[in-house]
């Protein structure tokens, strides 16, 4: 008797759990050909990238609002669905499947971390959905994606080439690279070595363990080669520790680091002496463009971060690609995006203007907030501008634009 009761309770629990599972999925909407066109953002709202994701998403929402109030695209309104990558590839894949299979999005916009982009890309291209990304790892556009990936972030090769040339131009004779193991570490060292070699400079490198509280032994090791220009390869937390240790060890040469690695929090955390004369560089948004001004307005900020500028462009590119292709499927948009991003068409900086021109049978060339937005065959961006800054009295001051 007791045993039979236990079984019953078990069955009840099992049924209850299955029922609860079913209830958590109230919306069984599928991609429809007559309802609104769905666009998805997949940005990091929590985790390491959580500081960037919310504004990246808001920039996309701003574009969609303006296009919807101007009548939509292909005669349909656009609806935004947003998911969180949690800056974690495993969670991001689950989120991407939901966007692709449940919401039926035409494009996934704004993947940030390189490992996240690499993980979600197959889910998207197998489902016939385009991915617009801000990840920098070289390997991403080398995936067999058949045109489904568009990247507005200059790849790490281009970024390092530009910075390496800058170091040589500034008279470096013994350059060194120091950073943690990342997807860019190996290629950064190789490229810096090549450019330095052509410029007649020697080259040294050191890969360290990220997120340590002291890098004194690493600093001692890199200083045995007596470098006169150091490139930092880590993120902000490492840079803070490393710069302090370099200063204490009496390093007197020059230092350059990517702007995301020597950001405001690093400058706040360190005394001015430690960072005086330090160079930073970044692919810069086109701050003079009308598109940039519009992102400033959407986000309500003075300085737009490069990622939000890029997702603003992603949304415009995706919407214009639909109009040019006459279809909201990813397969058709692949071709459409290249006809509106480059070429001899009329230069525009927002989708609303572009849609009007395309509707009249014209052709357009979108130049956005992040730059001219021209793409190679495999989806890499060309023609990005780079801004070099120098820290003076604790503040970054523009040095030169390349």
């Amino acid at each position: 008797m007791t045993r039979r009761l236990t079984m019953k309770r078990r069955q009840l629990l099992a049924t209850g759990a299955i029922g609860a599972g079913a209830l958590t999925m109230p919306r069984l909407a599928l991609a429809q050909s007559d309802g609104p066109i769905m666009l998805g953002t997949l940005t990091p709202l929590t985790g390491v990238g959580g500081t960037y994701g919310p504004s990246m998403r808001d920039a996309v929402a701003g574009v969609i609002d303006s296009v919807n109030s101007a009548g939509g695209v292909l005669g349909r309104q656009i609806e935004l669905v947003s998911e969180d990558t949690q800056t974690n590839p495993e969670a991001a894949v689950r989120a991407a499947r939901k966007l692709v299979d449940v919401d039926g999005v035409s494009a996934v916009i704004g993947t940030w971390a390189s490992s996240v982009t690499t993980a979600v890309a197959p889910v998207c291209w197998e489902g016939g959905v385009m991915v617009y990304t801000v990840s920098g790892s070289d390997s991403i556009t080398q995936l067999p994606h058949e045109g489904y990936i568009i990247r507005t972030q200059p790849n790490s090769q281009l970024q390092i080439e530009v910075a390496a040339q800058f170091m040589v131009d500034q008279g470096a004779t013994r350059v060194a690279w120091i950073g943690p193991q990342t997807p860019f570490a190996e290629s950064s060292i190789a490229i810096l070595g090549d450019v330095a070699g052509e410029g007649g400079a020697s080259m040294d490198s050191l890969i360290y363990e990220a997120d340590r509280t002291s890098y004194r032994s690493e600093v001692d090791q890199i200083m045995t080669g007596d470098p006169d220009f150091l490139m930092l390869g880590g993120y902000a937390a490492d840079s803070t520790v490393l710069l302090r240790d370099l200063f204490q060890a009496g390093y007197e040469g020059k230092i350059i680091g990517p702007a995301y690695a020597v950001n405001a929090s690093v400058l706040d955390a360190l005394p001015n002496d430690v960072v005086e004369g330090l160079f930073t560089w970044e692919g810069t948004p086109d701050v003079t463009s009308g598109a940039y001004a519009r992102v400033q307005e959407i986000l309500g900020v003075d300085v737009v971060d490069p990622y939000s500028a890029q997702t603003y462009d992603h949304a415009n590119l995706a919407i214009l690609a639909m109009a040019a292709a006459g279809s909201s499927t990813g397969a058709d948009m692949r071709g459409g995006v290249r006809t509106i991003s480059q070429g001899d068409g009329e230069i525009i900086d927002n989708a609303v203007d572009g849609l009007a021109i395309l509707a009249d049978g014209g052709s357009v060339n979108y130049n956005g907030a992040s730059g001219p937005c021209d793409f190679t065959r495999i989806g890499d961006i060309t023609g990005t501008q780079f801004l070099f800054r120098q820290i003076q009295d604790g503040q970054p001051v523009d040095f030169e634009t390349v």
């Binding site: 759990a17 999925m25 709202l45 998403r57 590839p89 689950r94 449940v102």
Partner: protein, 309 residues
């Protein structure tokens, strides 16, 4: 929609295998294994490398994934032979980090932080994504049923009783003549092997693995699954895994139900829910939804005094 449901099913299957692996070591034998992510990674990498660089068939890759993780588990259990409780937990956590760092830095073997992409899956490319997801779900269910049946038989047999005796009091088990040391090694290795099996199946399903995928966060999900389902109980582990994935995925639809929340708040609510559930489960149902039943002598097949009537 069907692909999405199928992929949730596959995720439940992988989480369930992980929960079962932890269950053998922790639920049955009482050995805490916080190095779950490490064994998960070991299995995933072994199978991925074998089937990409090694060009071996997927089935062999999966078996290798199991063997490598089980071997790693045996080695770790042997090294930590005399450690119990908190100390074992710390060592296993350290092991998991070491595995992740190895995968990040030994680029010649693992392609480092770029990860391994293009891992083959059964008939991927020949089937539509929907059919592939359904096929994989089918395979996953078969694997899961086989594993659950084997583990149930193991747990309910004399072997499982010995493991539970070690969990409850290893001195008593030793006094009763059970080879405590050997059983602990075997249980830990078997659990680790199941984690590796889950890893291998995870890699072949997603076609991409990278060191970032094996962070300790997933360990928390699995311990939640096991605590919710009922430690020591095999069906409870599967049910708990289903519950955790249902929560992880179901909370995506929170903003349809509570419209006032911003997107960032929804993201935060999802993470809070997981933590809250873990606390509530521990507080109100520490033995899980399906508690382990105390065994009765009559069910064990032992001779019991019985009146003839």
């Amino acid at each position: 929609m069907i692909s999405y449901l199928a992929s949730i099913g596959v995720t439940i299957g992988i989480y369930a295998l992980l929960a079962l692996g932890i269950n053998v070591a922790w639920g049955l034998t009482g050995m805490i294994n916080l190095g779950m992510a490490g064994f998960f990674a070991l299995g995933a990498y072994a199978s991925a490398i074998a089937t990409t660089s090694g060009e071996l068939p997927i089935l062999i890759g999966v078996v290798l994934g199991f063997i490598f993780a089980a071997g790693g588990g045996l080695l770790l259990a042997a090294i930590t032979f005399r450690l119990r409780g908190d100390y074992l937990a710390i060592i296993t956590l350290g092991f998991s980090e070491s595995v992740r760092l190895f995968m990040t830095n030994e680029i010649w073997l693992t392609r480092g932080p770029d990860g391994i992409s293009d891992i083959p899956g059964p008939l991927r490319g020949e089937l539509t994504p929907r059919d592939f997801n359904l096929l994989y779900l089918g395979l996953m269910i078969v694997v899961l049923i086989v594993v659950v049946i084997l583990l149930r038989n193991l747990a309910n047999g004399p072997y499982g009783r010995a493991l539970r005796a070690i969990r409850d009091d290893d001195v008593v088990a030793a006094v009763a003549g059970k080879p405590v040391g050997r059983l602990r090694l075997e249980a830990f290795a078997l659990g680790a092997g199941l984690l590796g099996l889950a890893g291998a199946l995870f890699g072949h399903y997603h076609s991409y693995i990278a060191p970032d995928m094996f962070l300790p966060l997933i360990t928390i999900y699995i311990f939640l699954a096991l605590t919710a389902g009922g430690p020591g109980n095999m069906l409870g582990a599967v049910l708990g895994a289903a519950l955790v994935v249902a929560v992880l995925e179901g909370t995506r639809f929170v903003h349809d139900v509570i419209p006032g929340l911003s997107i960032v708040q929804v993201a935060a609510v999802r993470e809070i829910t997981v933590g809250l559930l873990l606390i509530l489960a521990l507080r109100f149902r520490p033995r899980g939804l399906v508690p382990e039943r105390p065994a009765r002598s009559s069910e064990l097949g032992l001779s019991t005094p019985r009146r003839n009537r």
